[in-house]
Symmetry: C2
């Protein structure tokens, strides 16, 4: 399969059993380049209504930039009507401002084979972000630690279909809050060679992220290239807080990418109807992306939409629902019309366990995201329990399913080999294709197959313990962590990163809030 | 929700606990009427290549109608070149013949509120068909019995999102092979009032099905209306056997509908490439549907495609794969261009258990089928282990998920209420939508919610036993079967059906092959 780049093989051990165990694949697939259309759920009239309404929201209602006088000054200079912390953006101004944002950009990895192109018809997959808990089959649900964080970075590194190491794959709650970002960045930089995300929880931590990136990539390289993509949430409805905008300002000033993304539970942070939510999402994207361009015109930015529905009986957020799909499809169209890369989708589910509920909801979300034209999918694997939990087993289950998206995106080949007329002639009515020449020539790459699921006959499966998917995934997690080998890293760079982390930690007293 | 027709309420019992138990919903949703576009994966050039090649297959290679001299005579009379049992169909002839097939037709149920319109932008959902085994959480995997069959008909009758009672929901292996169809039809006719399928395993059993339908609906009604839709498999590649065609002949002659459907494991019964498989599928559909119109022009027919991929390591069929999606999307386009109703999709999976693998694969298949424009989805719930097993728990799990397809298909409302501008104005930056007037007015119908999944807080869920989806489904199966009440049926009709079954059984010695 020509989509697979950067194959690594490891030499086997002495005994054949050991040799089999160490015959580990470190393949990483190239980011997805779609050869299929997007699913366009809104017609032109609906798109124009929503676009018109979003501009009305910006001009008439406005958005708040709080505890950020510099931002208000920027907006005033750009021609907005600023009243207190409320910014009223005249119709058309935001669209004008965002025109400097790049349609696509490359995020560099320290291994150039892992570089990702974000935007266009591409899809880049990154793991779950943010959970304070982890779960595995034996240990159950517990607070996440730095060891868990490192384990998830290792699993991400070893996942063939994951292009990106992500950011807060779980919160290392055993490390002081004000120092976690140093250990997290250090793990992404040393345990993986895939691209990663920076810290956003304080502007100073964003600066630490940039400084560490300069050690890893070189200062000049960082100023000229994008090496981090970081997640800037909007406090919906229509509030841009000083901390998040402060982090965005650091990244934009350093030519690093931000995902400007409303975080919306429908009916709570946005209207209960889909069109209303899309209107607010578009207004928030227009304001946030414009602001990134006010800080530094041309700085790379991704327009995001994290939107889910709510169970009106209990108030719980719900995932994999049709309304979430409606919004994700619609937001994709709106963002494409802005000419921006689009972030949405993920392995979303509300289930407490990596069970059937988790998988239905996740598969609904993953398929929708591919067809919605998403360019950057955070949370593409490992998400459990509404994002409270990073699940070890679900991480490898979802990561395996991401392979289906790669193959779906290839579309249908209709060249002569694809048409297979010679095979149909050779076999004829009542024949069998398994042995024919065309099958022999194509069977290795013809069909996607899971590296995790059970395809065995019932009797074999029963003899082997009648295991469910969670049990198979548990075994895979253990095998991958046992087989893990860190990618090569220049020792001097490694020492400099270690020293930076040690110094920054020594400069601050521990803080746990 | 205006999609829900035929609400029935039952009076509660005395004690409040009993009242709660008997507050059972017998709602049945109306068949899906899509308000969203189809996903068109093939471009015009690719479609024309495949259409051209399919005609080449029919003309140059031909198809076999075996052990069926009358069929060969019909083909000869229609202008085909018949050599032995091989029928060569000149380019264009099949397209001309199928032009008499209706674009849409109504299948009547004995409860007119359950009638389904098949074709156009509609989607009708029917349960799993054909497994010889059943599985439930306590009993494990075992041969299916008539009691199981009756249970699945009851579960289908009580499923809100299922429009059709189906056919062989499982094989009642404790009943002689030559008499099963009588008990199966009797169950569909008496235990449910939804539309159903007839027997196809012998032409005489198709005739029995028609005769029983005449008792249920009246003989005149059956001659003038379609009351059964039955599954006619093609023996791919390109063989139409005498038994299946004999059943089709009975149904077509009586104005009853047939699904003409290749059953294909890719790489075995069709070429290993998607475009090649689509070519063969189209050729087979053209030949089979043409034949139905040769028997009786204007008889209702559905063009089907049951296609899955294969694990080239083991030879096992695989489900929910990207190649299956490619074929289903592509076949949908080809069938729409023929102007015929399209059957495909289902709750397909290869897993042995209703676990995460089953749910990922199933959700992949269900979502794809909705967007592929499927009009009749057999196997929409309950399919397990590659179709060898009807699963009690998965039946209700899948049936619940079918609700997401209904809501997805509604599309996005952009009327003034949908736009929600008043809500955005009322709430403003930093506000909260839960209490606002627009949310209050819309929350009941705004978001789909599962009737099965766990949406509770972690602590509540843990206290209640930390159950997974299978355990929740097991409870739901038991509750539904306990709550089941048969729909009313005229006693005279019931007696006549009983008498017919008794008479036909007495006329034949038992046969188990």
């Amino acid at each position: 399969m020509n989509e697979v780049a950067g194959r690594r093989s490891r030499s086997g051990g002495g005994a054949s059993r050991r040799a089999e165990r160490t015959a580990v694949s470190f393949e990483t697939a190239r980011f997805i380049q779609r050869n299929i259309p997007n699913f366009e759920i809104l017609n032109e009239e609906a798109l124009q209504i929503i676009e018109h309404n979003a501009e009305t929201v910006l001009e008439e209602i406005g958005v708040n930039f709080v505890e950020n006088p510099a931002a208000l000054a920027r907006w005033r200079d750009a021609g907005a009507d600023v009243r207190g912390e409320r910014v009223h953006i005249p119709r058309g101004l935001a669209r004008k401002l965002i025109s400097t944002a790049p349609k696509t950009f490359t995020q560099h990895a320290r291994n150039a084979e892992r570089n990702v192109d974000i935007g266009g018809r591409n899809l880049v997959l990154a793991p779950v972000y943010g959970p304070h808990f982890v779960r595995d089959m034996e240990g159950g649900r517990r607070y996440a630690t730095l060891e868990d964080f490192q384990n998830f970075v290792k699993l991400g590194y070893m996942s063939k279909w994951l292009h990106h190491s992500g950011g807060t794959v779980c919160e290392p709650t055993d490390v002081p809050v004000n120092k976690r970002h140093l250990d997290m960045l250090h793990a992404h930089m040393t345990l993986s060679d895939k691209p990663f995300m920076g810290s956003v929880t304080e502007p100073s931590r964003a600066q630490d992220s940039v400084d560490m990136a300069k050690i890893l990539f070189g200062a000049d390289f960082v100023q000229q290239n994008t090496v981090m993509t970081s997640l800037i949430n909007i406090n919906s409805p229509m509030v841009f807080d000083g901390i998040m905008m402060g982090a965005l300002e650091v990244y934009a000033a350093n030519n690093q990418a931000s995902i400007v993304s409303p975080f919306i539970v429908g009916g709570a942070m946005a209207p209960v109807t889909v069109a209303g939510t899309l209107t607010q999402v578009l207004a928030e994207i227009l304001a946030g992306v414009s602001y990134s361009q006010l800080v530094r015109p041309g700085s790379p930015v991704i327009a995001g939409a994290f939107v889910t529905s709510i169970d009106m009986n209990s108030g719980a957020p719900t995932f994999g629902t049709p309304e979430a799909s409606h919004i994700t499809y619609g937001a994709g169209q709106l963002v494409r019309r802005l000419g921006l890369p689009y972030r949405s989708g993920g392995s979303f589910c509300g289930s407490k366990l990596p069970d059937a509920q988790a998988a239905y909801e996740t598969a609904n979300s993953l398929n929708m995201a591919l067809l919605a034209g998403v360019n950057f999918m955070l949370h593409a694997c490992g998400w459990l329990e509404g994002g409270l939990v990073s699940s070890y087993e679900k991480f490898v289950m979802d990561a395996d399913q991401l392979g289906t998206l790669h193959h779906l995106a290839q579309g249908i080949q209709v060249d002569l080999n694809g048409q297979a007329m010679d095979a149909i002639r050779e076999v004829g009515p009542g024949g069998h294709y398994l042995g024919c020449q065309h099958t022999q020539a194509n069977f290795k790459s013809a069909f996607w197959r899971s590296d995790l699921f059970d395809y065995k006959p019932f009797e074999t499966w029963a003899e082997e313990g009648a295991r469910d998917t969670q049990a198979l995934a548990n075994e895979r997690v253990k095998r991958q962590l046992a087989d893990y080998q860190a990618p090569d890293l220049d020792p001097g760079t490694r020492e400099a990163l270690d020293a930076f982390v040690a110094r920054r930690k020594s400069e601050m007293p521990d803080a746990f809030i």
